[in-house]
Symmetry: C2
Subunit: 287 residues, 2 copies
Amino acid sequence: MNRELPIGIFDSGVGGLTVYRALHAALPNEHFVYLGDTARIPYGTKSLATVERYAVENSRFLDTRGIKLLVVACNTASALALPAIRKCVGVDVIGVIEPGANAAVAATTKGRIGVIATEATVQSGAYSKAIARLDKNAQVIETACPLFVSLAEEGWADSDEARSIAAKYLKDIKQSDVDTLVLGCTHYPILRSVIQETLGKEVRLIDSGEATALYVVTMLETKDLARRDGGEAAGVARERRLCDDLDHFYVTDAAARFARVAERFLGSAPSSLEAVEIWGQDELCAK
Amino acid sequence: MNRELPIGIFDSGVGGLTVYRALHAALPNEHFVYLGDTARIPYGTKSLATVERYAVENSRFLDTRGIKLLVVACNTASALALPAIRKCVGVDVIGVIEPGANAAVAATTKGRIGVIATEATVQSGAYSKAIARLDKNAQVIETACPLFVSLAEEGWADSDEARSIAAKYLKDIKQSDVDTLVLGCTHYPILRSVIQETLGKEVRLIDSGEATALYVVTMLETKDLARRDGGEAAGVARERRLCDDLDHFYVTDAAARFARVAERFLGSAPSSLEAVEIWGQDELCAK
């Protein structure tokens, strides 16, 4: 595997940019290629079969463009579609559930963990199962918070409405006395401060995207796949902006809207953004 | 055309059930076949090309099943895709924009009309153009209210959060002193009472679905396509429940969720609900 290749990231839309941000911060020497499936967003209310089909098409698309590793930023796709994706691409595939669960188990002291995610992720029980594999005594309470996505995309993360909606969604989790909460949807880190305020500062928030980025750092090192930057070799500190032209962004629809929300999430819009069609890629998949 | 055939209704998902409800109330003798494109919802944040493609696939699907008329319940599809749909089906196609605009022009006394809709519908300017065709002096102010969709689907139509979000979205419209407001997205009638309360009871709310149902009544009569019910002919009042087994519902994904939200919107879930795949129907379309 060529270590100069970019890391592929796919998401159902714009939410995965929080995972891109985390990867970018943890891996300043790497280049990224991001696919947001904005034509078919959201995945969180869709069925297993449909999420699998979309996820495989997206993964094949990035794989054929040349990547050294695929990060599935979307929690729903990570929860439902990793086995299907792994059958269809030639690179290692990393979802956000396992690293998120791992970080939560590491962080909890009381063994009481809350998880907030999309309806599909909650229904799949993916986080509960991943946590149980790591600590069978841990108690997990999961809740879907669908309105958080719109609040984040509207730029209302810091509003009275967000606070009020958070209080409603997180009521049961708060009462169940968790000490750790997994932000199990890529949009939720945008509402991080409201969530923290609602649950109190003693509750530890786990951003699955950040946990995944740290996992990828280790994995690249152990597989000797990390990119060695010229600048770094010469002892020059590397400076990289989010969304600069070393990273390429694909969307399946509505590029202008993607750029607008990207600016809201990251503070800058992608320099290199391209709209593509990816339907029917799953026919290429050898079962 | 066989007047016994059902009326076809398609929507991007569950929101069109408010249009189904209006049609059902206005046309108790008719049978309906409804397609909710739940695999690809929402349309309101997607581009023209994508909305056209989805709309044509849905319309072809219903047309090949045998309908006497097609109602495009989705405002976004009505705003963007009617010309493309009309090229590809053999029946009359009625969108919700023109009837909604018509009712608004009829209702306004000051000629100041507000329109709330999805981002795509607002961007298309479809309501403004339709209103201008009817009354070139009318003043129109349009605003997108994306969070209303999630609030309706969550069952939070009557909550403090809905009131607060409505106050925010409707601020400019309220200040612009409109006397009529078009509910230009199928979900918005679910929040009708909150919207009315926010703007004050002197503002007339126009439900485009209801306006469309009244238009369809007239159209069926003038085309001699209305179904004559045996009971009605014998002078027996017809009783029909919403969602009974005379109406058939198709969804492209997540039937269980559709049934749950249908119950929330209509008070009863469909008796006859079927999941289908409709991808690739547009290849059948003769340009």
